[in-house]
Amino acid sequence: MKNLLKVVLLSALLALLIVPMAAQENVPAPGEGGFIIEGYFGGSSVSSLNPLIANDSASNTIIGFIFPGMLSIDPATKLPQKGQDDALIIDWEISEDGLTYTYTMRTDWTWTDGTPITSADVQYYWDALSSGLVQGFAGTYYPIFIESVTTPSPDKFVVKFKEASCTALPIGTLGVVPSHVFPKDFAEINDMDYNQAPDVTGGVFNFSEFRPGEQFTLLANQNYGGAINGQVIPTGYIYLNVPDQNILIERFLAGDSNIISFVPPNRRDDVKAAAGIKTLEFSPGNVWDYLALNYADPTNPQSGYDENGNRIDQGHHPLFGDNRVRRAVALALNIDDIVDGAVFGYGQRMNAYQVPGTWGYPEDLPLIPYDPAAAIALLEEAGWVDHDNNPATPRIAQGAKYAPDGTPLSFTLYTNQGNSRREAIGAIVQDQLQEIGFEVNFQTVDFTTILDIIDGQTFDAFILGWGAGVLSDPDPTQLFSSQSDILGAGSNSVSYYNPVVDELMAKALNLPGCDPVERKAIYDEISALMQADLPYVPLYAITGFYAASEKVVPWTEFGGFPYDKIETWYVRQN
């Protein structure tokens, strides 16, 4: 009897617990899960919703929703995976010489008008891009790498590359456009109505409305070929433009939007503390900042090679041409202070140029210590002396390697205006280098101007950042190979030249088989060499930070994947 009572009570209790839970977790019917509203800060310019033309991040976010994904990435390992539901490409084969990639596509995925998506759509995408008639910038990118695309069958396309490279796989996936509604004459693509109002698409959402300067509205596509269970739960997705960053955060906290993919570091504590908000922090985030020091003579800028491929003598920077001065700079900077001051602690220090959290990051390489005494010793050794025993005045050269005697230890440091993070780095660097006898003329200039200065290679030093995602390959050829030291465009604007590093980079990039473990061993070696050379003084990578209203469930679990399985999301009504 007693036991029976217990059982009854227990079951009653259980029922009490379970019933409301079950009621609460009642997933809405497909298309009735409410609007996912994301606020973004990115200016009001939007290029085009045509993937052949789009070139800004807002458009590309929308394109990611309304077009099928080409390659599936495992959020846990960050590596491409075969045979998944959420991408068109389910298999690929690479030829022996690494030049030919054969991709296999799903055959059961259709455009919204019912037409199957086939390799002809990829072919059209490539033909349009390589014709040079489409005014998008993608057309200036892919043809650099790709030689030709052929389609042996509706579910296969073959991409032939100009050179073998371990970064080729994602480039070769290209993209798809509904070729059956696109014009035969590629020049007509530029002025299609489709560019502003794409009516035939194939992604998780359909395009619904573009309100210039306000928002994009997308609605669930119940025929989405990549959906789990074939269902798309949310009603739709709204991408809300808020041109002021503070107001963006305030409006998110007030509930005007319910998810946000970038929160500036100085507002992250507020967002974390706010009621009804959940957050996700992860590494790597999307940007890493660095301090670049010029190797070459800034008064006579030269490319690394002449037209015939012979090295050009680029001269030496009077200060930074000497490795000891570069080391002194690195040792004199208290990077922990910089992380605290510039990104409010939401950053991870870097030991070289690989972002912590990516597979190329050399875990065993120690950080550069903060050691002002060693920095001073290095400066003394390099012939930079405190001639008047006055720490407030800059040191001068006395037997320095590349500077005539009497040259003050003084340089100009640029960063782009309007970025409070880099402005903070600049002020701290200026301050900390002054402690060991530098005079830093810190200037902020407009973004287009700083790019002009950097490309012209007339700078002493600058602070800037590079984007980095979870999918970034560790290959740094574009940044640090001497081949990229091209006046006017190349990204190796500091004129870093280390033949050993050049050779190792080429080896890792073209490694037969592209085995990540073997490649990583080479990149670890490169990192160690570059930490000694210091083309950049490594600073930090900002940690990633997403936030969402607790009403948005289940939301994403993976950094770098802000919309993971968005077709299952819904907004709780209460």
Binding site: Q245, N246, P264, N266, R267, D270, D337, D340, G341, Y414, Q417, G418, S420, E423, A424, G426, A427, I428, Q430, D431, F442, Q443, T444, V445, D446, T448, T449, I453
Partner: protein, 326 residues
């Protein structure tokens, strides 16, 4: 008018003294009116106080042993700290008004920023006044093609919203590091830009006044006596239009300080690390949850300064208004 040269000379002398007497009495009346205008006087006192404080920045810097450039991350966002008034509690009394996002002293930083903002407002206003008076007198005096041309320039400039002109010109000059360095260094470039854009109103005002003055007898006589046009313009006309123009100076300075703040908000103002009230306010907006005083203080200083300048401008206008009665 047929008079002998000597008689003319005599009448000029007479007229000149008359002019002086009239203007003196006008000025005296204005001054006496001003001396009773408590609001204007208070505004003037506050403005002078702020200016003196701003230019004493180095003194405060050494007295308080703080620096407006020295960063100290461990002391960032320190609150306002005045132990004598029991404000702030357990805090560092060196930083009277606390510290900013990099631990720099806000008090001396505000003072240095004040130097920059006030100088921009003042010198840009002087520059636009100088251009405005010169062009106004020249066009009013000569008329004809010159007048038409300057008028066309004014109409053209006035037809584009100033903000866009400012943005475009700033984009050119401030973006160009070669121009932004050296003689155009920092705020100086902004002074030139703002000064070059602000003169049209003054020119119109002065031109109108010159038109009426040039027909007056003493100018006609001076002409008849063979005085050179330059002499007539600068000796006889300029002093007479000066009083009208000086009145607009105060409100001009105020407007220019606001313009600098607006440009900073849009990302083209005084460039950090040089502080100005405008860029301090813009920067601080990002941190308003961490240090509200960082937003309030520069905003308040801009507001108070501009308010004082506008009140002074108003007071001067009322005082010099010949139609107003005592």
């Amino acid at each position: 008018m047929t008079t002998s040269p000597s008689a003319t000379a005599q009448s000029i002398a007479q007229l000149n003294t008359e002019e002086t007497i009239v203007s003196k009495s006008l000025t005296q009346r204005a001054l006496s009116r001003l001396s009773r205008d408590k609001l204007t006087l208070t505004a003037l006192a506050v403005l002078i106080f702020l200016t003196v404080m701003a230019f004493l920045a180095p003194v405060f810097e050494s007295a308080l042993e703080v620096s407006y450039t020295k960063t100290n991350i461990r002391e960032k966002f320190a609150p306002i700290c005045i132990p004598a008034l029991n404000v702030g509690g357990d805090c560092n009394p060196k930083h009277i008004l606390g510290t900013d996002d990099l631990g720099r002293d806000v008090f001396v930083r505000l003072l240095y920023a004040g130097q920059v903002s006030l100088s921009i407002g003042f010198f840009a206003a002087i520059l636009s006044l100088a251009i405005g008076i010169t062009l106004g007198v020249v066009t009013g005096f000569y008329g004809g093609v010159i007048d038409d041309f300057i008028n066309w320039v004014i109409t053209t400039l006035n037809s584009v919203p100033t903000l866009f002109l400012l943005l475009i010109i700033s984009a050119v000059i401030l973006r160009n590091p070669d121009l932004a360095r050296g003689i155009f260094g920092g705020p100086f470039a902004l002074i030139i830009i703002l000064g070059l854009l602000g003169w049209t109103g003054t020119t119109r005002l002065v031109r109108g006044e010159t038109l009426s003055i040039r027909e007056r007898e003493y100018i006609l006589s001076a002409r008849a006596l063979g005085a050179s046009p330059t002499r007539i313009m600068f000796v006889h006309i300029v002093p007479n239009v000066f009083s009208i123009v000086i009145i607009v100076l105060a409100s001009d300075i105020g407007g220019l300080i606001l313009a600098e703040a607006a440009l900073s908000f849009l990302g083209i103002g005084v460039k950090v690390p040089t502080p100005s009230w405008g860029n301090m306010l813009t920067d601080a907006q990002t941190y308003f949850t961490m240090g509200l005083h960082l937003v309030i203080l520069p905003g308040l200083l801009i507001f108070i300064t501009v308010l004082c300048l506008f009140i002074i401008g108003d007071g001067l206008r009322d005082a010099f208004d010949p139609t107003s009665t005592d």
